[in-house]
C-alpha cells in the first residue's frame, strides 16, 4: 500500500506539471481563436476582438506577457512557501533530532534495566513521535548512524531497537519506491542493520545505470555478507568507477570479509574488478597469487597494469623478482616506477640498489630523482657529494632538497 502511495505521488506530480503545460498550450490556442465549441458548450474568447486592431503575432505576444507575469507571481508564492516550509522543516528536524537522540539513549542506557512492559511503553513513546514518513526516515537514519559508528552492546541494542520498532513495510516501501533517494535510504538501513530478505531486489539495483544506486546496492550486498566471495561483482557485468572500487575496498576491509575468490576477481574480464582483486591481494598480503598478478603487469588497461605492478612490488621478496622489477621499470607508469624505486632500495644486494638508484637520478623525472637521492643517502653517502656538484641543475636542486633539514 505504501509503495502504491509513493508511485501515486510520483506520477501525480508529473501529471500536474503536464497538466500545467497542457493548460498553457490550451490557453494559447483558445486565445488565438474567437470561440471553442465543445459539444453543447461554447467558450467565447473575450479578448479576440482586440486582435483586429493589432497584427496577429503581436496579439500572441500579449498572451506570453500574461503567462510570464502569472508564472512570476506563482513562483513568488512558491518561494514564500518553500522559505516558510524549509525554515519550519529545519526547525522541526532539529527538534526531532534532539528528541530522537534523547529517547534512543534513554532506551540504550536505562537507569535500571527495563522490564518488558516498560520497554513496550518506551517503544510506544518513540513511535508516537514518528507521525509521518519524513520523521520515520530521520529516526531510522539517526539510529542507523549510531549503530554504524558504535560496536558491542550499544550496536547490539540499536539493532534490537530497529527490530522492535518494526518498520519492515516502511523500509520495503522505500526500497521499491520510484524515488531514487528513498531507495538509497532503504539500502543504507538494510545494509547497516543487516536486514535479510531483500537480496533479490538489491541484486537488481546493482545493475541500475544510476551510478550511486548501483554503488550503494553493491555495498549493501557486501554488508549483508551473503555473497562474501565477491563473485556477484563479476555476475553484475558492469563497469565500476574508482569511487566504487574505493567503497568496495573500504567495506571489505571494515567488515573483514575473508572468503574472497581472489583468483576469479583477478582474472575477471572487467578491468576494474580485476584491479579490485589485485588491490585486495596486496591489502591481505596474499603472496600465493604472485604469478597471476605478474601476468597482469603490462595489461592493456592502465589501472590493472599499475595496480598489478604496485602489488607485485609489495609481494616481491627474492632476487629474481627484484631483477624482474628492474627489467620492467621502463615500461610501467610513473606511479609504478616510484614504487619500484622504493622497493629496489630494500634489496639485500647493495650494489644492485646503488646502481639502479644512480640510474634513476640521472635519467628519471625530478620527483623520482629526489626519492632516489633520499634512498641513496642511506645506502652510499659518497654519491651525495657527486650529486651536489652535478652539472645537471635539477639533480643539484634535488640533492639540496634532500639535504635540507627543514624539509
Amino acid at each position: 500500500m505504501k509503495t502504491l502511495t509513493k508511485y501515486l505521488k510520483f506520477w501525480s506530480v508529473r501529471l500536474f506539471f503536464l497538466l500545467i503545460i497542457g493548460l498553457i498550450a490550451f490557453g494559447g490556442y483558445f486565445y488565438s481563436v474567437p470561440q471553442i465549441n465543445a459539444g453543447n458548450v461554447i467558450l467565447i474568447n473575450p479578448f479576440y476582438n482586440q486582435s483586429e486592431n493589432i497584427p496577429t503575432w503581436l496579439y500572441e505576444v500579449d498572451y506570453f506577457i500574461f503567462i510570464f507575469l502569472v508564472t512570476s507571481v506563482l513562483i513568488i508564492f512558491m518561494i514564500l512557501y518553500y522559505n516558510a516550509n524549509k525554515s519550519k522543516e529545519e526547525k522541526i528536524d532539529k527538534e526531532h533530532m534532539i528528541t530522537f537522540v534523547e529517547k534512543i539513549f534513554f532506551f540504550l542506557y536505562p537507569v535500571e534495566e527495563y522490564n518488558e512492559k516498560q520497554k513496550k511503553n518506551q517503544l510506544n513513546g518513540i513511535k508516537k513521535d514518528l507521525t509521518n514518513d519524513h520523521s520515520k526516515q530521520l529516526f531510522l537514519n539517526t539510529l542507523r548512524k549510531i549503530h554504524a559508528q558504535t560496536t558491542g552492546l550499544v550496536s547490539e541494542k540499536t539493532a534490537y531497537l530497529s527490530k522492535e520498532i518494526n518498520y519492515t513495510n516502511f523500509i520495503r516501501a522505500n526500497l521499491y519506491s520510484p524515488y531514487f533517494s528513498d531507495n538509497l535510504f532503504a539500502l543504507k538501513v538494510i545494509g547497516d542493520f543487516q536486514l535479510k530478505g531483500y537480496e533479490k531486489h538489491i541484486l537488481k539495483l546493482t545493475k541500475r545505470k544510476n551510478g550511486v544506486l548501483h554503488s550503494e546496492a553493491i555495498v549493501t550486498l557486501l554488508k549483508l555478507k551473503i555473497y562474501d566471495n565477491l563473485l556477484f561483482l563479476i555476475d553484475i557485468n558492469m563497469e565500476l568507477s574508482i569511487w566504487d572500487l574505493n567503497i568496495i575496498i573500504k567495506t571489505v576491509q571494515e567488515l573483514n570479509i575473508l572468503n574472497i575468490d581472489y583468483l576469479s576477481l583477478i582474472q575477471s574480464e572487467t578491468a576494474e574488478i580485476s584491479a579490485l582483486g589485485i588491490i585486495l591481494v596486496r591489502l591481505r598480503n596474499k603472496s600465493d597469487f604472485k604469478s597471476e598478478i605478474k601476468l597482469k603487469i603490462g595489461s592493456a588497461n592502465p589501472l590493472v597494469s599499475e595496480e598489478a605492478c604496485i602489488t607485485y612490488c609489495y609481494l616481491a621478496n627474492c632476487v629474481e623478482e627484484y631483477a624482474y622489477l628492474i627489467e620492467i621499470f621502463n615500461i610501467v607508469s610513473e606511479k609504478s616506477q616510484s614504487t619500484i624505486i622504493s622497493k629496489i632500495a630494500t634489496t639485500q644486494d647493495k650494489t644492485v640498489s646503488v646502481k639502479f638508484l644512480n640510474f634513476v637520478v640521472n635519467n628519471q623525472p625530478f620527483s623520482q630523482k629526489v626519492e632516489a637521492i633520499r634512498l641513496l643517502l642511506d645506502l652510499d653517502i659518497n654519491v651525495i657529494s657527486e650529486f651536489r656538484n652535478s652539472e645537471n641543475l635539477v639533480i643539484r636542486q634535488s640533492c639540496y632538497q634532500v639535504l635540507d633539514i627543514n624539509l
Binding site: 493589432i54 497584427p55 503581436l58 505576444v61 500579449d62 506570453f64 506577457i65 510570464f68 507575469l69 508564472t71 512570476s72 513562483i75 513568488i76 512558491m78 518561494i79 514564500l80 518553500y82 522559505n83 524549509k86 525554515s87 531514487f180 533517494s181 538509497l184 535510504f185 543504507k188 544510476n210 551510478g211 550511486v212 554503488s215 550503494e216 563497469e239 565500476l240 568507477s241 574508482i242 569511487w243 566504487d244 572500487l245 574505493n246 567503497i247 575496498i249 573500504k250 576494474e272 588491490i279 591489502l283 623525472p365 625530478f366 620527483s367 630523482k369 629526489v370 635539477v394 636542486q397 634535488s398 639540496y400 632538497q401 639535504l403 635540507d404 627543514n406 624539509l407
Partner: protein, 474 residues
Amino acid sequence: MNLLNWIDVINNIFLIYAISLFALYLFNAVMSILELRSYSNKNKYVDYKSMLSFQKLPSVSIIAPAYNEEKTITDNIKSLLAIQYENFEIIIVNDGSKDESLAKIIDYFELVKVNRAYELNLSCQPIRAIYQSRNAAFNNLVVIDKENGGKADALNAGINVSQNDLFLAIDVDCIIESDAILKMVKPFLDDCKHVVIASGGVIRIANSCELTEGKITKVNYPTNFWAKFQVLEYFRAFTLGRMAWCKVNGLLIISGAFGLFDRKRVIKVGGYDMNSVGEDMELVVKLRRYMHEVEKINYRVAFIPDPLCWTEVPESYKILSRQRNRWTRGAIDTILKHKKMFFNPKYRIIGMTSFPNWVFFELLPPIIQAIGLIYFAILLFFDLVNIHIFLILLAFVLSFSMMYSIFAVFFEAYTYHKYKGVKYFTQTILIIILEMFIYQPLNMYFSLTGHYDYFFKKNKKNWGEMPRTGFSKN
C-alpha cells in the same frame, strides 16, 4: 527594396535574435533543473568523510596567488588550513607583493627558506625563494616568493612547484568550505564513462557574511547596493547557466577563483596563458581543444552546485566596472585565440553549441543592444516607431527577464536556502525590478568599454586592481 522593407528586414533580424536568446534562457532553466535534481538525489546520502580513508584518492595542491593581500592573507591561509582532505598541500604564491604580505605570513606561520626542488614545466617569472614552516601544524603549507608576473604567471609557478595529481586554483581571499575538496574530487572518481579533466564550483558572495576562525558562520544578505545586484547575477550565472551547460557537457568556463584541474594535462597544454586577462576561461577552452585534438577520448568538465567557495565582490561602481571590463576583454581574447573551434563539428558540442553560444549570447549582446538603442533612437527621430508595438515588446522582454530572475531566486530557495527572511525576500524582488533598469544597462556599458579597450586601446592586458576590505572587519 525601399527603406520600409529594409526596416522590416532589420526588425526581423532583431526579433530572431531575441527569440533565440529567450529560447536559450528556457533551455538553461530546464537543463539546470534536471542537473540539479540529479546532483542532489545522487549526493544526498554521500558520506564525504569516508573518502578520507579511500585507497585510491588523488593528491591535491591548492594554489593561491597573492598580490598585496596583507589585510586578509593570514586569515585566508588559516581558513585554507582547515580544509579536510587526506593528501594535500597549500601553495601560496606571493606574486611580488609590494606590501607586507610575505613578511606577515613568514612571521605568523614560522616560515623558513627551503631548498625545495622543482621543474620549470611552465614558463613563469623567476622564483626568489620557497618557504615552509618549522611548525608541524603547518607542514602542508608552502609559500613561493616570486617576481611579479600576474595571476596566470603565479599559478604557473605554483603548478611547477606542485607535484600532486590535481591542483585547485583559488583566489587567496576566498573562503573555502572545509569539505570543498572532497566534493570537488568526487566527480574525478565516480565517472566510469568519461575522464574528468576539471571540476568547477559555485562562487557565493561573502560580503556582509559573518566569519569566525576562517569559516563562514552566518550567511547575510549584502548590505551594499552593488553587491545585492551581484547576488542575483551569481544565482543566474552559476545556478542556472553553468549547471545547464554542465548537463550537456558544454561548460567553457570554470571560475578562476575556484577550479580543480588535472595537473598533468594542464602542463601538457602549456598551463595558464600569461598574456590573457581571462586566463580561467582560456585554460578550460584550451584543455577541451587538447582533448579533442590529441587524446580523443570521452571526457567531461564537471560542476558542483554546492556553495563551497565564498568571495568578496566589488562594492563600488569603479571597481565593478573595471572587473566587468576585464571579463569582457578576457572572453574576447579567448574566443579569438580559439576561433578555429567556432561551428567546427570536430569539436562536437563545444564547437557547435557552447562556442557559438559564447559568441552570440555572451559577447555580442552588449554590441547588439547598443546598436538596437541607436537604431531605435533613429526610428524614433523619424517617427517610424509604433509606440503601441514598442510598449508590448518592451513589456514582453521585461516580464520574461523578471520571470527568469525570480526563477533563479526560487531555485536558490529550493536547493540551498542560504538566504532567509522577509527582508531578504522583499529586497530581492525590488532588486530584480531595479536590475532591469540600472544594473543590466550598466553591465552592458561596462562590457562595451571592454570591447572598446580590447580592440582600440594598447593596455588590453591590464588587470586593474581590486582592493579588498578584508573579512576581518566582519
